[in-house]
Symmetry: D2
Subunit: 380 residues, 4 copies
């Protein structure tokens, strides 16, 4: 029987949206979804142009979320969009998600889910009531080795957890924070747009999520020390949070946007009575497993020693970093430019037939040299 693709809509994510393409590619990867329509832009003309490039049916491109819901609901259930991706600015997440859930759509929502926990609790109740699927894209939980860590901890392999340490250090705000005029222009530092927190709200919460995700434990209470660095700056750009988990287990989250030179340095370490784990987002293919009294081990994706969950989260053979898709994608991009006869294509944008010729000549010369007694052999 044919496994049908899920009909997907998108709110936001049009021209120039990095997060939009990330979601579309992710949806494409498993060949589970089919993008059918959406309300991609507050500028309707731009939305239609965008949809045209994607070769979508323009009758499924809508002015806004209200029209989207109204028109889609009018469609037959077999045609209607089944899941809607929300990739609009943060402050719109709550109201849009609410409307979609109430209309019965499944929702995939970019992080943060809302701007307050009250709103989030409201959505939680609605999800339950309307029996829809709601996915929040805390991206880092999708890594194979994070899933392997979760699996092994759940199995009790490191025993009872006794210490948790997570870090999320970035330095991106450093170049602007020290100039009063510049920092006043950063939306992340504007409470009206970013809510009550910059550093904790944007990245500290990822560290928090990773702790609860991998350990299966809950944070019970926190004691924090946040810094805004300047008095005229309202929101935190740095902070340390002491954690008390269930069973009185101690933990700490360190998070910063002023760790100058750091890019996206998310790390998590969990120590138990029998062993420990460490994982780093910038090198996501390595899971460090400490076992009391033995040399530490390094687990990598795609190997049969991993559990089912990690294995099904990997498409590649061992040793291929997942980013190989992107690398292949770059070659396709270069080829597309050539097919379209675009100008100023970088030399080396894609391998040509000549690379094929050279390769075959290399192989033949190499085999000949060895067979003829290890002698120098020319490549024509």
């Amino acid at each position: 029987m044919v496994k049908k693709k899920i009909r997907m809509g998108m709110i936001g994510g049009g021209h120039g949206s990095f997060i939009g393409i990330l979601h579309r590619v992710a949806a494409y990867m498993g060949e589970d979804y089919n993008l059918v329509g959406g309300a991609f832009d507050f500028d309707y003309d731009r939305a239609k142009l965008f949809a045209e490039e994607l070769e979508l049916d323009l009758s499924r491109v809508y002015e806004n979320i209200d029209v989207f819901i109204e028109k889609e609901l009018a469609l037959d259930k077999d045609t209607r969009i089944e899941v809607v991706v929300i990739v609009t600015p943060n402050f719109l997440h709550y109201s849009m998600a609410k409307k979609l859930i109430e209309a019965g759509f499944n929702v995939i929502c970019e992080k943060p889910v809302t701007t307050t926990s009250a709103e989030a609790l409201d959505l939680e109740a609605l999800v339950e009531k309307n029996k829809v699927v709601f996915a929040l894209t805390h991206t880092y939980t999708g890594y194979p080795m994070v899933r392997q860590m979760k699996t092994m901890i759940a199995k009790g392999i490191i025993g009872k957890i006794q210490k948790i340490d997570a870090q999320y250090y970035q330095g991106w705000i450093n170049p602007v924070i020290h100039d009063k005029n510049e920092r006043s222009k950063v939306w992340r530092l504007d409470p009206a747009k970013a809510g009550i927190s910059s550093c904790m709200g944007d990245i500290g919460v990822h560290a928090f999520n990773m702790i609860e995700y991998t350990t299966g434990m809950k944070v019970k209470k926190v004691l924090s020390d946040l810094s805004t660095l300047y008095e005229d700056n309202a929101l935190d750009v740095d902070g340390t949070v002491l954690l008390r988990m269930n069973d009185d287990v101690r933990g700490v989250i360190r998070s910063s946007q002023i760790a100058t030179g750091e890019e996206n340095n998310l790390q998590i370490a969990v120590y138990g009575t029998k062993g420990g784990f460490k994982w780093e987002q910038e090198n996501p293919n390595y899971l460090y497993y400490f076992k009391e009294g033995e040399p530490y081990q390094v687990l990598k994706p795609g190997n049969p020693y991993n559990g089912d969950f990690a294995q099904e989260s990997t498409k590649m053979a061992p040793g291929h970093p997942e980013g190989i898709f992107d690398s292949m994608g770059n070659i396709y991009k270069g080829t597309a430019r050539a097919i379209r006869k675009e100008s100023n294509i970088h030399e080396g944008s894609f391998p040509t037939i000549n690379d094929g010729v050279r390769g075959m000549q290399f192989i033949e010369a190499t085999v000949a040299s060895s067979q003829n007694g290890n002698v120098w052999t020319e490549i024509s």
Copy 2:
């Protein structure tokens, strides 16, 4: 004006083909291509089922490459497939590419291009004559940091090259090579299927390609020492190749399929009169740049200090390994299973609304703790 997607066809790559999905996702990534049809399988029923799942127009699904070419050529030029991806077994590459090029199609072909250099030269002549675009997917040349290395070498930043060293070590053949019966079943070791070489033909040639790609130099002659390990084994599973480049520059390629425990350890080091570079495929986001007399530098993708070519080859902000697409893809996969109400979904396959609630509660408690004088604050 709307930028039209390129109409893409595919030969091979149907159900269960890992290489097929890699090419389709790569094609999707830049949103430059639209898969329109193909001859996906030698079993036509299976090909149609596969196409149905991809929601393709079944009239564009063909029995084989000959029917593909005949029917597509009969179509209007504005409808006809513009580029064809060849992802069939290696021994078919040559004949299929030949037919497609002669019919005027642009071609994207999996590696290796052919099984002999004579065939490759033949294709090269045909490409020139028919003025089509021919791309060979030497995947590793698509990495941003490989492209940055190429750019910096071309600019003369490390001066005149004086030493080149490339390695491609795998261990995958070790578990089968030592058993006579097992090794006789490996197609890579069968000259009828793999051509004249296993190790050099499959991976050594990548090291060769990376050398010519990054340095812009040509290998003039080789002296090699290949090993089949066992007398009854016809093809090499290991080898070292001494290189003489133009200008008498020395180099070496080391390649193995019996480097037990190695997964996909491709590395390249290039040393010049003013500096040097090192890059490793398993950690593709780091480019090590040695500058005579100074501390070495580590370049990473997405940073403005990179050149245009590397920058346009990156979709992500600095610090995000490219594999984040895959991580996000896993979350979409889990969500799809929930939408389809599949059973046995791993706990933690995608973050739910409850993760959203927890996150907002964490942020609020953290801000409150700090504002109230660093006191313990509960998370409800």
Copy 3:
């Protein structure tokens, strides 16, 4: 003019004392000291035997510190011991140091200096009054790259400091802490022997010292969260400390003895307005320097790009880890065994003349092969 060696005495450090040999070798390294005598052991016979093995003048081996002081003071100033190394159990440091300082000896004292800050302040006053040199062996401040970090921060290279993070994670107490009987036997957990703290007193204080050493800043106040893990355990085995430095700069120290699998993972990161630094004790030869807007750099000892202080703290050429002394020391140890005709010497304990023969044959064969046109050449 001849540079005289400093006459050194030692209290404690006799047979079986690891810390004693560490101090003696360190004293030997710069060829600045000469061990002349001491009170090496509370068992006087054992002390004399030990001294005999070291070939010391037995008239300078004393029953205890009081005799040591009395007899040495009776000696001529040109003969008298100039500096005394204290390597006794922690609780004796204060009383011994006090006596020595009051008697006018320079002192080199193992860490911790005392068991209370009142005692330490007392010593500080005595040091000032008696105008002696007092060195406390916070070993990690001796690393070349730590000194380079200190120098560069002092020069303002990373601008104004805005965030400090230090870690000292060990797991050594994990195998014993979970058994009530076992943990009651650990002297580190006995307040009578270890003072008021285990984790902070033993290792957290190193992190603290490294922060003040490298940044030149002072910790003004702390907020800490220490854990004893079990109620019947009196002293902390884990803790996180929030720091407020001068100028309101934030910092954090994380320290643990229950980070299962960690060995001696001391790390320090300092971020400023223009850049940042990271250093790790387990890989002490690498100093990571982040410069806003540029690829990060990795500094290594012995290179002329380092400052004077780091350079004079290195004995080795670049690329030789300092541990090469130990490696050479092992070869000397093996040779000593052979000279003494000891039995059960490990094969390979030192290279023999046959290794020399093989090496020369290798060099000659290699040169011959290349000169004769890259042909196989046998090694006899």
Copy 4:
């Protein structure tokens, strides 16, 4: 019974000799040797001054090796020097070793043992005939993890060896090699002083030695490709050597002095039928162990999972890089300067009593903060 120290003499190694101090410290480390005398310098006055600083008995300081031998042989056997360290220029090693062996002294000789294999064979015969101990200081074989690798390979843990790859890359000659005048001044490139090889003779031979040491196998024949880079340069500065071991096992040595930016990058990888090992000299505390089908392991010194040979080659607890001796040595050096009241001592050359005070205050404040309910606590 007292274990007597071995009486050691030294030829060469006086003022300004780096290699001399390396040998003296190594000899001191195990407290097995006592430096008694020598012929430290061809300038006898300088030799005596040097010996005075070391506080040696000047009657044991000799004009040259001939006087050394004559006078020492005249001494009673219980007083006579038992082992002589040769740290003179390379071309003198042979003649000096010969004299010493024939006179019945044990010898510790710096690398290279001689300048030809004929000379080395001659020494080998003499060593046998005179029944003396002869140690050649191939330093890298003294590392604990190299010894652990040797032990595990000998035990058959990685099965039958099937591939060996060693590298020794340096870049030190790059800054001088490209200027004809400069390169003519380098003694390493002068056949009269350096023998028949620069790169292979100085460092390639270490790679060779490491291969034979760790694997226990012998290199049977070589095929090499050496480069002098310039025609007027007589000796190799770069080369690759194909190896054929016993049992027809393949290997390769890559060695260079023009790998710009490399410092002392010696690496060895050995792959067998069941697993593999990798070790790098610049990070000598890590031994990478690949086991077919399992995550790879990382072994570190000092841990009980290591074998006897590695364990007895470590003085430190796990997690302390061996270089901690050097770090401690730097603190002693700084203290010596203070005791000698030298001027221009770097601030921070050694921790003072004030560091002790600060440390105790930190510990007390930290414990108080936690006990008082995690409140801010000042450090006076």
